[in-house]
Amino acid sequence: MDSHTIEFEINGKRASLEVVSHRTLLQVLREDLHLSGTKEGCGEGECGACTVLVDGRSVTACLTLAVEVDGCSVRTIEGESEGPDLSPLQEAFVKNHALQCGFCTPGMIMSARALLERNPSPTEDQIKEAIAGNLCRCTGYRPIIQAIREAAARRKDQSAKG
């Protein structure tokens, strides 16, 4: 079977891995690296449950081949917390009850992370646009939007205090 050695960074750590060509990034994250925070929903790029960041840009890991991330930096939900502490974004999700079953949450947080990094002060419409590719069947989205707004405001406060 056609395989390739890929070198990449996963949540800040360097990794070198032998992958067969037809495995997705999602499969390699979950099955080889045991990073099972990233979920598989639809497997067709519609639901966003498998959203991860590749070189800072959000992508659906189900429609990305593992071999394609050779030389890239990959971030998953496991890289979101800072040691034992939740990130401000994660804390805002908890505080606002922005999840019920939790299946969409890792992808939702990765989309929110990508948004806040390209736009630290998003409007409500920009937040909605940024998570339009992440389906949630529990919350009705309001608490998720509120959590992202709060996390953005908190980041702004912190950088103002600097």
């Binding site: 067969v20 060509s21 790029g45 959000s58 992508v59 659906t60 429609l63 339009a132 590719g133």
Partner: protein, 276 residues
């Protein structure tokens, strides 16, 4: 999930062309993968070889030169949205890109891939047809340039030969004072395929190019609009399109939508020019 295949990531255009010539229809080009990998998962395509073109610097080209904008085959829809030059010269492409898929899909999906998938509902197909764009096609023999109107030949069918592939699409900057727009009607406000889409460019001399998508086997350029922007244009639209029933809407609904969207487009472009 996918049956095994071999993966190549060449660094030069000529290598891709050579791989395609060697493997023929058992090879597929991988750009963003957002149509290809979904199709492979569903068993619609079963390639033995995938040729990843994202390692070829030339295919990232997105820089207007001498009044022409080339969009290389590896340029993603979000790359387009990030370009100040595109925003200034081709607002229609920005309007179109913003209505396509979700942010994370747009980070991968390419403009040229949207054309090569050759869906009748391809939003970039409609917008680039309205701009009179052309594709540049590479093969072992030579390169050829084809007007986009001759590229789409049927549902998911293009004029590409088995050893040919698209390296870029080019659009000329419309003259100053041109008006352009893109409208899309889908089942939901969020990411969805078009039930009907409509793209148009109105030149300062009054000539109108109107394109309707998801209403026939290929996107339709409604000919003979000339400067007739009154009621006659709806009759032309009715004659030009042949919508079908599918999960996104009935033929009858699409016919009405196409006429309504045409009217709104004409109002929008002429109101813009009065204001301008």
């Amino acid at each position: 999930m996918f049956p095994p295949f071999r993966y190549f990531k060449p660094k030069r255009i000529e290598e891709v062309t050579a791989f395609l010539a060697e493997h023929g229809e058992s090879a597929r080009i991988l750009a963003g993968g957002t149509d290809l990998l979904v199709g492979m998962r569903r068993g619609e395509f079963t390639p033995d070889v995938l040729i990843d073109i994202k390692g070829i610097p030339e295919l990232q080209n997105l820089s207007a030169d001498n009044g022409t904008l080339p969009i290389g085959a590896a340029v993603s829809v979000n790359d387009l949205l990030d370009s100040a030059e595109v925003a200034a010269l081709f607002p229609i492409l920005i309007q179109t890109a913003l209505r396509m898929a979700s942010h994370q899909i747009r980070n991968r999906a390419t403009v040229v891939g949207n054309l090569c998938n050759a869906s009748p509902a391809a939003d970039m197909g409609a917008a680039l047809l309205a701009l009179g764009a052309r594709v540049t096609i590479a093969s072992p023999r030579s390169r050829r340039v084809l007007p986009l109107g001759e590229f789409f030949t049927g549902v998911k069918k293009s004029a590409l030969g088995r050893d040919e592939w698209v390296i870029s699409v080019e659009a000329d900057t419309p003259p100053p004072g041109s008006r352009m727009g893109f409208l899309k009607q889908a089942r939901v406000r969020g990411p969805d395929l078009s039930t009907v889409n409509c793209a148009a460019v109105l030149l300062p001399d009054g000539a109108l190019t109107l394109v309707l998508g998801a209403v026939a086997e290929t996107p339709v350029v409604v000919t003979g609009c000339g400067s007739d922007k009154g009621n006659g244009i709806a009759d032309r639209v009715r004659e030009a399109i042949a919508p079908i029933d599918d999960v996104r809407g009935s033929a009858e609904y699409r016919m009405d939508l196409a006429c309504l969207m045409t009217r709104r487009m004409v109002e929008k472009l002429t109101a813009d020019s009065r204001r301008g």
